[in-house]
């Protein structure tokens, strides 16, 4: 079994001066490539016993009382580059509250904390790769980069596939947000079609009448390939 080589032009490069924090934190030498060994091909697996009943419900999982904000379902499927669903994938999310404030001592934004919003959730994908969260729509927020930079509404996602070499952290954005094309972090990605793949469309098929809207965000992890000839090749 092998992992498909990562196609770096669909990702941000390390050094992106428009996002100032990357300047001193980006390797300047070329990455060294080589065949993955069993360590990169294997990875931790997580069972459903890890999950609490409310882990994927950010509206109530902090205090049991509902958080303030626009209720939304965020759902989708985790697939690999071959188009196959990835079941059993641990999906962790974190986000600002409806006012754009994180529950973190380093976030001093004017918007208030919501006493009933913690800001994280997790789930494990089903056999068809599907996952679902209930949350509130996060607010946009200003951040110190350029003189007046704002993050669009977004949810951070962390994903584990079956291989440690598939590990991925990304961010989901919301269809129609005018801050998307202005965001220096989004603009670390050069390819406009790659940016589009981070923008979740409104999904009225999953919205619940008189309850919540829904957004659909599918995530693709690096492909894992196994061919019937592979063992023969290794023996040669």
């Amino acid at each position: 079994m092998t992992l498909l080589p990562r196609k770096r032009d669909g990702h941000p490069p390390a050094h992106t001066p428009g996002y100032k924090s990357s300047v001193a934190r980006s390797p300047s030498r070329a990455l060294i490539s080589g065949p993955a060994s069993p360590t990169e091909l294997s990875g931790p697996t997580f069972g459903h016993e890890l999950l609490g009943k409310l882990d994927n419900n950010l509206v109530v999982n902090f205090t049991g009382q509902p958080a303030i904000g626009e209720r939304i379902i965020v759902h989708g499927r985790v697939l690999d580059e071959m188009g196959r669903p990835v079941p059993g994938a641990l999906v962790e999310v974190w986000q600002a509250n409806a006012g754009g404030r994180y529950r973190h001592k380093k976030d001093g934004y004017l918007a208030p904390l919501d006493p009933n919003f913690g800001g994280c959730g997790r789930t494990i994908t089903a056999d068809d790769g599907s996952y679902e969260f209930l949350t509130v729509r996060p607010g946009a927020y200003p951040w110190p980069n350029g003189p007046n930079d704002w993050r669009p509404m977004h949810i951070h996602f962390s994903l584990f596939g079956p291989s440690f070499g598939q590990r991925l952290i990304t961010q989901m954005y919301f269809e129609g947000d005018p801050l998307i094309p202005r965001c220096p972090i989004i603009r670390t990605i050069a390819d406009p079609s790659a940016i589009e793949r981070l923008v979740a469309p409104l999904d009225m098929n999953r919205a619940m009448p008189m309850d919540c809207l829904a957004y659909k965000f599918d995530i693709v992890l690096r492909g894992r390939r196994q061919t019937m000839f592979e063992n023969q090749m290794e023996g040669m």
């Binding site: 196609k7 990357s22 300047v23 990304t170 981070l198």
Partner: protein
């Protein structure tokens, strides 16, 4: 015209940002009550066989500043060179908010195939646009036939992948993101 290749492109990476702990180690930043404990605080249970080791390290940027908001994940086999079961062998370490140091208490990994024993690392933080993959080998091990290390063009960079022995069962491993002594990062 030919048939389209209907493969899917990998979802682009985005930085983990300054608040990665809220999602990955919420208890560490004072968000209690959602998860009973943070994920993968220790890679192995106390009774796991093998030599117990402690690795202390830090991640340093191109100006020489230690990162205090970095998250380091490790994945390794047990002392017998086998992986798992479950998440055994996986550890997630937020660096200290005060000193930037992280401490890995684990068992020394066994060798897998022709590779010298090593622990795989994955590093994310604000300012890192895509998670950085690297490896930690161990001073004192025979590294002379490791398939990755032997084919490196710049053999003088190998020490950046080797944890230094500081005592009985203790090691030091500093990761330099950029510039003088830059750690080798991998694309595999």
């Amino acid at each position: 015209m030919v048939q389209p290749l209907d493969y899917l492109p990998e979802t682009p990476s985005q930085t983990a940002g300054p608040y990665v702990h809220i999602g990955c180690t919420p208890n560490f930043v004072g968000i209690h009550g959602i998860y009973a404990e943070d994920l993968a605080l220790k890679p192995f249970p106390a009774e796991a066989p093998g030599e117990r080791i402690t690795v202390t390290g830090s991640v340093i940027d191109g100006t020489g500043t230690v990162l205090r908001d970095v998250l380091v994940e490790t994945w390794q086999p047990g002392a017998d060179g086998r992986f798992g079961p479950g998440a055994q062998g996986f550890c997630r370490m937020p660096s200290s908010l005060e000193t930037g140091e992280w401490v890995l208490e684990t068992v020394k990994p066994g060798a897998v195939g022709p590779n010298a024993p090593y622990i795989a690392l994955w590093i994310v933080a604000r300012g890192i646009n895509i998670g950085l993959q690297t490896r930690m080998y161990f001073e004192g091990d025979d590294l002379s036939s490791d398939p990755l290390l032997t084919r490196l063009e710049h053999q003088n960079r190998i020490p950046t992948l080797v944890a230094k022995k500081t005592g009985d069962g203790t090691y030091r491993f500093d990761i330099r993101l950029q510039g003088e002594g830059e750690t080798i990062f991998l694309d595999m």
